[in-house]
Structures are given as structure tokens and as C-alpha cells.
Symmetry: C2
Subunit: 337 residues, 2 copies
């Protein structure tokens, strides 16, 4: 059985290009005792993958060269020689950029069965998956919002940002988003229920962005969920209230190039702020509570999300490059089945 | 009775100069019911005072112009029309840059009696006072050191820094200081018991300072007590371990001029760090525990400190300007009696 898979064949300098990837045809080997074979239905594309394509120091091992691109997937078990899984089980898995994922026994703890009757299977890669839990952990455990506070989120139309704002609203906060372009901003307010959304493309300099934040946050900023880096953080610090909290989740603005300095770090002291970086996989103790709230909210229609779905495995690199440029709207997926 | 006092008469741009201050002769008014008159024995000079000389947004009200410079003092009650204090009481007070402090009833909660039999009176402005408690709060409640970790402190020979390192040592940590010049570095190791001290004047650029930190911290940095800002924080971030903590207490490097950018803020995310600013007066709940540990440690000779003592009220502005330039060694005081 043929298994098409994308390998990383060279490390990008700056923006990735299609030539960094190669589509390889492998053969699915015969199943051994203890193994499970999964057919991937959807692949998840995420900004963190750009960081792993570098060889430098980071919180995770680099993506190896000439090996399948790593990433989350949802799919269906098609064959199993392990009592924990049966053919027909729907699963979330670290299945990678390929059509079939052969899970070794040692990988099974990273694979979990999901119920696709109440929640669409693809949502387990988004609002009820890693992005949703990322939003929950950063907001609930680092920002710790209190009713009446103002919470700002960058990349607010994205898979993480949209959930942050909706969870903040559910906790009685004012939610203010930043997104690129009028269509995304409209959806952030009309679909996701934020109180306001700033089109950062209309505010390319710090002074203008800071003024827009002042307008949107008349009581200042109490919490900021950081997905982008760059001047957005500078502007937020100018509007931050005493004892405000910043959850640093992503700094996509800096992934492709040189670090972007923080202009006035003394504001962290002046405002007695807490700025804390985190990655969701190091907060496993919070996943059950997060998934419970997120799954219920999606199943009952209270938590909205959008998906950008690329069709077919061939589309993965271009979709990933587009994701890094902000061309997606909501969770970026690749549909394989 | 004549009361010599220093007024701030103009706001400095950049470094303060003697012309920003004016020595004024006032008269001590007659004591009214409820008031207490204190003769100041020592005045405390502190870096935070420079920040308050600005008119901009900060965590405290600016120092008013044409009014007595605010600041902590220790002294002796010389007259009292309030049952809570008697002549002869030794007190810590917000007595300001003057010879006599007339405390209104409303100010008495900020004044406390101290026992000068076990601990020298001046130490209540240093190791057993605001600087010592600052060290305790930042280290114990923000850095939360664990035995075996490496804790780095800037301005390590100063009133705060020297205490940070000694408290870290008492908790089983490796303590590494940064100080200016070989004499201060020698004292940090020989007198205060740090494991190592880096002379930052020998490392004027980031690469050199980062290499020095690597040598002094072979297991990386788990906690950093920030007293200075500038490239020291950049260098620390390059050597910071996963889950390390930065307590931001002072950024003296930026007080006199433009903000100094933080070069690579994404390291806060990469290292999943917590960076938190604080001011000690907002953590009053910790003062009793801190003062108990600090007072016992000074009384039993376990906690060492140094003082730079300027003589006479006339000397205050020059001593303050010298403090900002790092000319002091340990707690900067002005002795009045």
C-alpha cells in the first residue's frame, strides 16, 4: 500500500519555500504485534512547525531532515494488532504529513480515541485540540482573567486566538482582538463575539497601533495573549494596566528572521507585569479540564471556530507557507480523505 | 527650631545635577495633638528616587517640585503628642531629606518602632529594611529558588543584591553576582559568600558578558534578580534555563535616559520563562516573614552588609548622584546625627 508523505529536505533561511519539502512515496509495511495503522483524514498545520524547521536551540527537538514532517492528525484506525485500539476507532495522533501513520506501541500514549458524534472530527485539531487547549492554558492559568477586565488577543481570528476571546467573554471580560484585514476583523466581532477588533494592517507603526488599542481598551489592558510578537507587544505594554499579565504563546513575527527587540522592557517593571512563556505540551495536567470545557462548548454551539481546509496531501507545503503569511482564516487543515 | 531640608526645584533630564536640589531652612512648627516629632539620624538614598523625579507615568506619584525630597529615614522621637509614641523611641519613618520629621497622625501607620539593641539602627534602612525586604520578596515569592539551582543577581554589592545572594545561599543555591570593579567583586565573594562574581566593567559587550555568565553558571541560570537592565538582561536570557524566573526590581540603566530595548524577547517563550516586575511596598503581606528572617540573620551575624555613609545633610545630593553612578558600596546613607 502506497503512503505519500512530505519530507523536509532542507532548512529554510527566512520564509520556507516549496523546495524545502519533497513528496515521497513510501510503502506501508506489514503490521507487527502491538502496532496500529491509522489512515489520516486531516493534517494539522501550525505556526510552531516553522520554529522546528530551524536547527537552533528551542523548546523542542528540530524537525529531522529527510524524514516525514511531524504534526498532529485526526483519522481512523484501519488495522490494529493492539488491544487498546480497534479498526473504526477515530483518533487524534501525531500522524505527520502523510496518508498513513503506523503507530509503534511506544507511540500509543500520544494517541487518543475521540467521539466524533457530537464534535466534528476536524475540531479535535482545533478548538477541541491543541490550539483550543493552548488558548485555555494561557488564558486560565497565566492571565487568570477576572470579570470586568480587558483581555487583548493577537491573531484573534486564528485557531488559538478565536478561542481565547470566547473563553474570556465567557468569564465576563471585555475581549479585544487584533487581526489582519476587514474580513477577519468583522468575523472576530460578528462570529466570535469579541467586543472589538483592530485591523493591524491599518496601523503599521507603534504610535498608530497604540492609539487604536487606547480606543478599543478605554480601561487599559489587564491581560494579553501574545501570538505574534513585534510591535504589537510594544503597543500593548504602552497600554498595560498595573498587575497585567502577558501569556507568550507564539512570536510568529520573528520566526522567519532576526529577533525583533522589545523597545521598552522597563514597562514590565513600571506596570508590575508578569510576562510568561509557555508551551501547551508542558501543561498536561490542565488538558482534561480544558478539553471538557471546550468539547461541551463546541457541542452546544457556544464556541465558534473557522477552518481553512486545503485539499489533498499535495497542497500541504503551499498551505503551510500561506499560514505563515496569514492567508488562512482559522485553523489550517489539509483534508486527505 | 531650624530644620534644614532638601527640596527638588527642577526635574533632571538625564543625570541629576546639584542644581536640581536646593537646601532650605524651615522652622519646626509647634507640635499639635496627635503629632510626633522625629529627629532623623540617617537618611536613605535609593535608586528608585531617580524614577520619581520624572513627571511621567510610573508606579508612584512623582516627587513634587519645591517640596522636601521624599525618602526613608531612621531616627528618634524627640517629642510626642500621640500615645502610640514616646520620646526616646527609635523609629523607621518616611522622614524625607531633612533634619526633623513632623509626623501627622495620618502618617503614623507608615512609622514603626524598632529595637536597636540587637540590630544597628542604620540596618533598618538596609538589610533589615526596605532593601532587604525587596531582596526577600523578589527571591522568595517570584524566583522561588530550589536547592541546587543557580541564581544570578546584578548590582550584587548593593543593598538589595548582597541580600539576594546570601538568602539564595541559605536556600542551597549557587549564587552568582555581577558588580562593577575588582574591589566590589572581591567583597561579593569574600564577604557576602557568593560562589562567583562577574566584573561587568570587564565585559562591556553582550558577547563577552554572555561568555562570562556561561563560565560562572555551568548549569545555566534558573533565577535572575534584575537590578540594572540593559545588556545584562540580554546576556542572562541567552544563558537562561527552561522555566527560569526573572524578578524585575530595578532597571537603573534606563533611569537616566532612553529605554534600552530587550534584544531577543522571544527567548522568554523559547525558555518558557516568567519575567515579573514588582515593587516591595505592594507586598506588605510578606514584610513580617521577611523582617523576621532578615533581623535574625543580621543579629546572629549570618547576614553581612556594607554601608556607604555620607556625613551631614549638605552631602545628600552629591551622594545621590554618586549612587546612580555606582560610586557607593552597599547601602547609601546620609548620617545626620
Amino acid at each position: 500500500m502506497i503512503n505519500q508523505q512530505w519530507h523536509l529536505v532542507s532548512r529554510p533561511t527566512g520564509e520556507p519555500t516549496p523546495s524545502n519539502f519533497k513528496l515521497v512515496e513510501a510503502t506501508v509495511p506489514d503490521l507487527q504485534d502491538g502496532q496500529v495503522l491509522v489512515r489520516n483524514h486531516y493534517m494539522s498545520l501550525d505556526p510552531y512547525m516553522r520554529g522546528r524547521m530551524n536547527d537552533g536551540k528551542s523548546y523542542a527537538q528540530p524537525q529531522p531532515l529527510n524524514a516525514v514532517m511531524q504534526g498532529g492528525t485526526v483519522g481512523e484506525v484501519v488495522a490494529s494488532k493492539n488491544a487498546a485500539f480497534q479498526a473504526g476507532d477515530k483518533v487524534v495522533a501525531p500522524g505527520g504529513w502523510q496518508q498513513y501513520f503506523l503507530a509503534e506501541a511506544a507511540q500509543l500514549p500520544m494517541m487518543r480515541k475521540v467521539d466524533a458524534s457530537q464534535v466534528p472530527l476536524s475540531a479535535y485539531l482545533g478548538a477541541v485540540g491543541m490550539p483550543g487547549v493552548t488558548a485555555w492554558v494561557g488564558l486560565v492559568t497565566i492571565i487568570e482573567p477576572k470579570a470586568g477586565e480587558t483581555i487583548v488577543v493577537s491573531a484573534a481570528s486564528g485557531a488559538v486566538g478565536a478561542v481565547v476571546g470566547q473563553l474570556a467573554k465567557a468569564r465576563g471580560c471585555r475581549a479585544v482582538g487584533l487581526a489582519g484585514g476587514p474580513d477577519k476583523c468583522k468575523a472576530v466581532v460578528d462570529e466570535f463575539g469579541f467586543d472589538a477588533c483592530i485591523d493591524y494592517k491599518q496601523h503599521p507603526d507603534l504610535k498608530s497601533l497604540s492609539a487604536a488599542l487606547k480606543d478599543a481598551c478605554p480601561k487599559g489592558i489587564d491581560g494579553y495573549f501574545e501570538n505574534v510578537g513585534g510591535i504589537t507587544l510594544d503597543a500593548v505594554l504602552q497600554r498595560a494596566n498595573a498587575f497585567s499579565r502577558v501569556a507568550m504563546c507564539g512570536m510568529i513575527a520573528g520566526y522567519n528572521g532576526e529577533p525583533i527587540p522589545l523597545l521598552a522592557p522597563q514597562l514590565i517593571l513600571v506596570n508590575r507585569m508578569k510576562v510568561q512563556g509557555f508551551i501547551v505540551s508542558e501543561h498536561m495536567q490542565h488538558w482534561p479540564a480544558a478539553l471538557k470545557e471546550l468539547g461541551t462548548a463546541v457541542a452546544t454551539g457556544k464556541l465558534k471556530y473557522r477552518e481553512s481546509v486545503a485539499q489533498g496531501i499535495e497542497a500541504a507545503p503551499e498551505a503551510f507557507i500561506g499560514l505563515l503569511k496569514g492567508r488562512n482564516f482559522g485553523k489550517q487543515l489539509v483534508k486527505l480523505v
